[in-house]
């Protein structure tokens, strides 16, 4: 639903797009990390790069955020080439990496003010913005303390706050919730949603399917340095067959009766269960139950829709499946 409403109302994409990457390649000492990655991300979009460890997510972020050069391919951020116009790119992006990029010997507030000075903001603006961000990220009480006394979630919030000192138009979030407890993870999700609501373009990497599903307008699944699938969460789920309902029966007689009524079902005699391909909608559910009639007693009914987990394993399951995409 979220994706549909988003699709109906995005700002018209600029010709350049927020991120345009073509054929990005990177190898470290003969080991191919990126093997021709194409990305097109529109302004204001939340785009998730989903993949297992070692798929090349962080390398992609490093190339797009000017940290390392690609071996091949081109990439532009809001119309600026990441190689030729690196400083122009740096002026519009913010990066929060996997590892906290805070100065551990400066207090939370000093960290923010340091960013403000490096961004050459006037002093009054530095102070106002730092105070505002401390408030927004619930760090007012911890402002005068060193990050070494912070929890993981607080450090991550300070990290994002530092990134936001420059009011970036595009933010890279490299595994923003890895290692956080569930509460901090949900706080971070809210932060990301707020940023998106402000119109900031977000490229986030994650290993968590739920996270991509919750936050992203579009998802690209990265595996072994290649994008093996791309689309809205709903589109990706539709690519995987397997939606079904499962009926459980009390005895073999009921199972047999039901199997006769529902010819398309596959049966599991050991569990006394039937598996019927079905999209899980109310109408089709009612139709199946009507065909079953009143005489067959159903002990249990469950609806199975493929989640991103199924998509993920189907797409990244093995080299053969990866190649076929």
């Amino acid at each position: 639903m979220k994706a549909l409403t988003k699709q109906a109302s995005p700002p018209p994409p600029t010709p350049a797009g927020a991120i345009t990457a073509r054929g990005l390649r990177k190898a470290y000492g003969g080991k191919v990390v990126l093997d021709g990655v194409d990305l097109t991300i529109g302004e204001g979009e939340v785009f998730a790069l989903l993949g297992p460890n070692g798929a090349g997510k962080t390398t992609t972020v490093h190339i797009l955020s000017t940290l390392i050069p690609a071996d091949g391919g081109t990439a532009a951020i809001l119309g600026h080439d990441v190689r030729a116009q690196a400083d122009a790119v740096r002026a519009v992006i913010g990066v929060t990496g996997q590892f906290a990029a805070v100065d551990n010997l400066l207090t939370g507030e000093e960290n923010l003010l340091l960013m403000g000075r490096l961004l050459h903001l006037p002093m009054a603006e530095r102070r106002a913005r730092a105070a505002n961000l401390l408030e927004r990220f619930d760090l007012v009480e911890a402002a005068g303390q060193l990050p070494s006394t912070y929890s993981g979630g607080m450090t991550r919030r300070l990290d994002i706050a530092m990134t936001l000192m420059g009011r970036p138009r595009l933010i890279f979030l490299d595994e923003p919730t890895t290692g956080l407890d569930p509460r901090s993870r949900h706080t971070m999700w809210d932060v990301i949603r707020d940023l998106s609501a402000d119109g900031v373009t977000i490229l986030l990497t994650t290993q968590y399917l739920e996270e991509a599903d919750q936050l992203a307008d579009r998802i690209a699944v990265l595996d072994h340095g290649r994008i093996v699938a791309e689309g809205t969460p709903e589109e990706l789920k539709q690519r995987i067959p397997g939606a079904h309902i499962r009926l459980q029966f009390a005895d073999a007689a009921a199972l047999n009766a039901a199997a006769l009524a529902l010819a398309e079902a596959s049966r599991d005699d050991g569990d006394l269960a039937l598996r019927i391909p079905n999209d899980g909608g109310i109408r089709s559910l009612r139709e199946v139950l009507a065909r079953l009639g009143d005489d067959v007693a159903v002990a249990d009914l469950s609806i199975h829709t493929p989640d991103l987990e199924d998509v993920f394993f189907a797409l990244t399951g093995g080299p053969a499946q990866g190649e076929s995409q």
């Binding site: 990496g97 805070v102 010997l105």
Partner: protein
């Protein structure tokens, strides 16, 4: 703003950051005072008698006058440890990647480290000079001589600072960065004329001592503090400082350009 103004501003920001670090974590600064002070006391009160005797300076007072310039040089060298450790901490922490993805002047971080190193060296050498005065050091230098001494100490710490920044950028761990500065802190001072005159050393060591940078530095400090003529020794010392600074700068620049971890 011109590029120069911006880069000066960024360097000043990073220098202030380093000084804040020093104030917040003064242990490294205390360490780089404590080590030379321990050596000073050790050599004056324990080893100084026989050494001074052997050198023909019978009174302890003369050996402390001989020794103190060497201890001051050692104090500067002791500062390399803090700088290499700070540079390595910056490099191995996440902060470096943040700075790399911001339009911050390249090299501002290193300039900050070097500036802070020089300022710290001036503070630590002043404190160590004070301790030396307490244990009998009696310099004869004129005001101009003191200025020259300060200038040489600053130039020497500037040179060693670039080298230690480079060490910090290349070292993989903080402990490694610290270890790599040990030859600068101890080996080179001992293989110079800091503790005993070079002509008292075995031939090979004497040759090395005569051709390494620490010897002209300590010789010119010693001459200036004694109010004695030093010939061109100070120029040799400054030439060494310039060469070390340049090599350290180029090495540090290469280290900063390397890919992220």
């Amino acid at each position: 703003m011109s590029t120069l103004t911006v880069s000066a501003q960024d360097s000043a920001t990073m220098l202030e950051r380093e000084l804040k670090h020093t104030r917040r974590y003064p242990l490294l600064l205390v360490g780089s005072i404590l080590v030379p002070v321990v050596f000073l006391l050790l050599f004056v009160y324990i080893l100084g008698g026989p050494i001074g005797h052997g050198l023909g300076h019978v009174a302890r007072g003369s050996y402390v006058n001989f020794l103190t310039p060497g201890i001051l040089m050692m104090t500067v060298a002791a500062g390399t440890s803090s700088t290499a450790i700070s540079a390595c901490l910056d490099m191995t922490g996440g902060i470096i990647n943040r700075l790399r993805t911001m339009a911050v002047t390249r090299g501002a971080m290193q300039t900050g480290h070097v500036g802070a190193n020089v300022l710290r060296a001036l503070v630590t050498t002043a404190v160590v000079t004070g301790v030396a005065l307490l244990v009998g050091f009696r310099p004869q230098a004129s005001v101009l001589g003191w200025l020259a001494v300060t200038g040489i100490l600053a130039a020497f710490s500037f040179a060693l600072a670039w080298l230690s920044v480079a060490i910090g950028l290349f070292a993989k761990t903080v402990a490694g960065a610290n270890s790599l500065t040990l030859p600068l802190q101890f080996l080179l001072p001992f293989l110079s004329s800091a503790f005993v005159p070079a002509d008292s050393m075995p031939a090979g060591v004497r040759w090395f001592s005569g051709h390494q940078p620490f010897t002209p530095v300590v010789d010119s400090l010693r001459g200036l503090l004694a109010g004695a003529p030093i010939g061109n020794t100070a120029y040799v010392a400054l030439a060494w400082c310039a060469a070390i600074a340049l090599a350290g700068y180029l090495w540090a620049r290469a280290g900063f350009r390397r890919g992220t971890r």
